[in-house]
Amino acid sequence: MSLASKDIDQTRIVHVDASRIDAAMAIQFKEEMRQLTRDAPERVVLDLTQVDFIDSSGLGAIVAAMKHMGGASRMDLAGLSPTVSKVFRLTRMDTVFHLFDTLDQAVNARAN
């Protein structure tokens, strides 16, 4: 599993290069997210295009990553597969995060 980030204007895109964010690697994911979102600009977009599965541990790790930023930056999610979207809908976490179908849509979205 690896995370890579790049900044475009006031947005930090964090690309998840893994097909699963699950119990086996949730802690590692959380740790790496803390590193990568340190001193993040006002918006972080988590690019989940490669991810085809998350479980509740993976969801919890994503929530923890957002909480860790303490409201200094917002976190949006992009490229959710149908299964990953389902987990966000079932838990109603789609009301907590802004979800974008593609990374392009997320990058092009105007802040509210």
Binding site: A23, G60, V63, T83
Partner: protein, 140 residues
Amino acid sequence: MTYQFDCRATELDVRQVLIDLRAALADVVAGDDVRSSVEIAVAEGLNNVVEHSLTASCDGRIHVRMGVDAAHVFVLLQDPGAPYPNWALPDAPQVDLDVPLAELPEGGFGWGMIHALTDRLDYSRVSGMNCLKMWFARGS
């Protein structure tokens, strides 16, 4: 069609079972929606076994049996670990998301998803084994 899998109670072993289960489902079930429902609910059920009932220090193995007929996908999760709390099926907890950022929950989602995704759910304890049964309706 019946499929059987078994594994040690570790997160990595569970991951492999889920990958194998997904491949088996792809062979026999046409609908993406029911396939993802089975995958998510079984993942949560297995994670629960690893976390709470059968820890990695035990030699016991988790058995998964999946059956598919015209109406349902049926999954049995069996493990020789500690009984589920109160020897009963856990309820879906109430989760409040209308809270400040710092209070958002990071866990407790599993049973809610299992209840929401299954048509029918059953837990029993038989001969020292936990038996969690899930039924998923196919098609609509």
